[in-house]
């Protein structure tokens, strides 16, 4: 049971990291290094504040 919970947590972390990096790669998310517009995508660097 303990191993199962640990596997679930690690898998979730892996999924989250891959998702975050893909989003960053596509320019849909920022790196969050203490600056405002930090998405690397040229065309998608828009911050919709609604």
């Amino acid at each position: 049971m303990e191993l199962f919970i640990v596997i679930i947590i690690v898998a979730a972390a892996l999924f989250f990291c891959i998702k975050s990096f893909v989003k960053i790669y596509k320019g849909e998310d920022s790196c969050g290094c203490g600056s405002d517009c930090s998405c690397p995508g040229k065309s998608k660097c828009r911050q919709n504040i609604k």
């Binding site: 640990v6 690690v10 990291c17 969050g32 600056s35 405002d36 517009c37 930090s38 660097c45 828009r46």
Partner: protein
Amino acid sequence: MSTSIALAGNPNSGKTTLFNALTGARQHVGNYPGVTVEKKQGFCKTDSGEFDVVDLPGTYSLSAYSLEEVVARDYIVNEKPSMIVNIVDASNLERNLYLSVQFLEMGIPVTIALNMMDVAQKRGIEIDIEKLSILLGVPVVPTVARTGKGKKELLDTIVLRKDLNPEPVHISYGSDIDMALDQMVDIIRSSGFLTQKYRSRWIALKYLENDQQILDLGKNENPRIARELESIAKKLTSHLDVTLNAHPEGIIADHRYGFINSILKQNVITFYQDENRLQLSDNIDKIVTNRFLGPILMVAVIMGLYQFTFTYSELPVGWFENFFSRVSGMADNALADGLLKSLIISGIIDGVGGVLGFVPLIMFMFLGISFLEDTGYLARMSFMLDRVFRMFGLHGSSVMAFIVSGGIAGGCAVPGVMATRTLKSPKERLATILTVPFMNCGAKLPVYALLVAAFFAENEAQVMLLITMISWLGALLVAWLLRSTVIRGASTPFVMELPPYRLPTLKGLLIHTWERTWQYIKKAGTVILGISILLWAMMTFPGLDDQALKIFDTKRNAVTASVSENVLNEIRYADTDNLSEQASSVKERLTNLDMEEAQANLKNSIAGRIGLALEGITQFAGFDWRTNISLVGGFAAKEVVVSTLGTAYSLGEVDPEETQSLSERLKTAEGWGPLTAFSLIIFTIFYAPCFVAVVCIAKETGSWKWAVFSVVFNTTLAFGLSVIFYQVGSLILT
């Protein structure tokens, strides 16, 4: 239905401040030109109506000379917003109106927001707003974006004027140019050349200004007409060269300024104080940017910033460390031994806690940087460093990219790389892009803070200053190397605009500090947490095989079999401080066996094997296998170096009473000392940029070749420098 408005204006005219005031957003505002490189969108709902607001990059003109100008112009032409709000700095009216005139020439709906009226008044400048509006033929609304004054009037004016379609302003550019323009307009009109998007006279003007974007569009639209127009422009250029020794662009700019002056001289602007008096900013600049005093003052300011940061953050950093140590201790007592406990304590608390422990330090650092930025001092730093930069083949505009990337400490390479868009020379831009990752970004800060606190506690500020100087010097030398070899090319001139000094508001400082600190906390709680968990798994699995476990069990059994049951019970139930000599000795042997097992498990893990495989090479720089694991993790994000060290040293610990902070653990760890710590600092300064920065480099240079180059070159350079430092240092110290 909402009204679309675009905010446009010169850099540092207050566009982003007005954007924030209108939308309630908290976009970063800097007291230096070029904060907005990309456009930003927001929404504003007031009694006047609903508005979609776009903050365009700051530009001085609408030629396609730089990327910001292209971004701004393309948006206006392609998206056709209902109204352009041209933010004009009232204290620099003449220069700011140059862009306004170009809007008027385009024949698009414009409202002028005459911003910074308070600054203009303080400088003794009085503007007849009504007269200015009549002469320009567009509404002019006085505003103070910083306080939100004039916001309502501006929105009301936009609603009233949005459906009007103004006629373009025609400026006379002298007989030669006017004749050529007329000839070109006839051709453009009769052929419908690009007229779906642009006004015919404006297209003709762009041909005379040699606007590359319009020239390319023209060639695609109709090559024959394009050739005809280019031929007229060429003929005019030769004629003006012979008769006036001037180019059409220069004459066009002169006449635009002439048009502006003719308006201003009609009593639109009055200086009720001595026009030539030196402003307060100029007086301060006489000392601050002085050729000799300036650099000394700059070093003193940076030193003061570090001193301030380390002095005032020491106590709260201690509280945070204690807090995480207690949480770790509590989890240790509450959870049963096993994988889950190890994940929670070593992977999460000790990993992420190591990064979050530096939140107070980051906060104080950001507070100091926000103060310098908001006052306008960072722009002065750029101005002074411009001279130095040119010596190394970089451009004056490169300085701001360096500062944004963490020139003082605490920036980010990603916006730094993007800030290079203001550089017009592709070679200077490339050299800047490849060297900005050497700056000390916010992610490297916890690594430095950890090592400096652990090994250089007596001289924290001095060591941080030294780190800053090493990173700047390294970046400049690499830039010089690149500019003399692979990216050779001539330097381009640079004109720097110095914004006036401003007294930052406490609210503004707190907002800026919190925004940046929150980004740091958010990253630690999301991406860093995820990577920490993954690295914990890599440092835990596959674990020791049954045979190895059996060997440790046999050793343990041998120890326990050699003593009586009473001694074992004493170890199990008695207080650690009250153990008999024999029980203490047995307990120590058992603990050592547990530690040996934990170390063997860590070494046998996936990450451990990678770390050990690299140790053969990295030992020359003083790095052991655990440091190697953290540095490999640092490729994802630099904070991971700290979280991984936290996890690696936590997994090696087996004593439940052991709740030391990471810096305390490193201080006493084998193989660690000031020499190793500084070698690691050097490596961290120079090694490969993080994943996001690499992606950004690839996108901004348009090639993965340069992104791969920055990873390989930087890592090789970092390792070479660390080895030299460590080996020379070891020789001197032994």
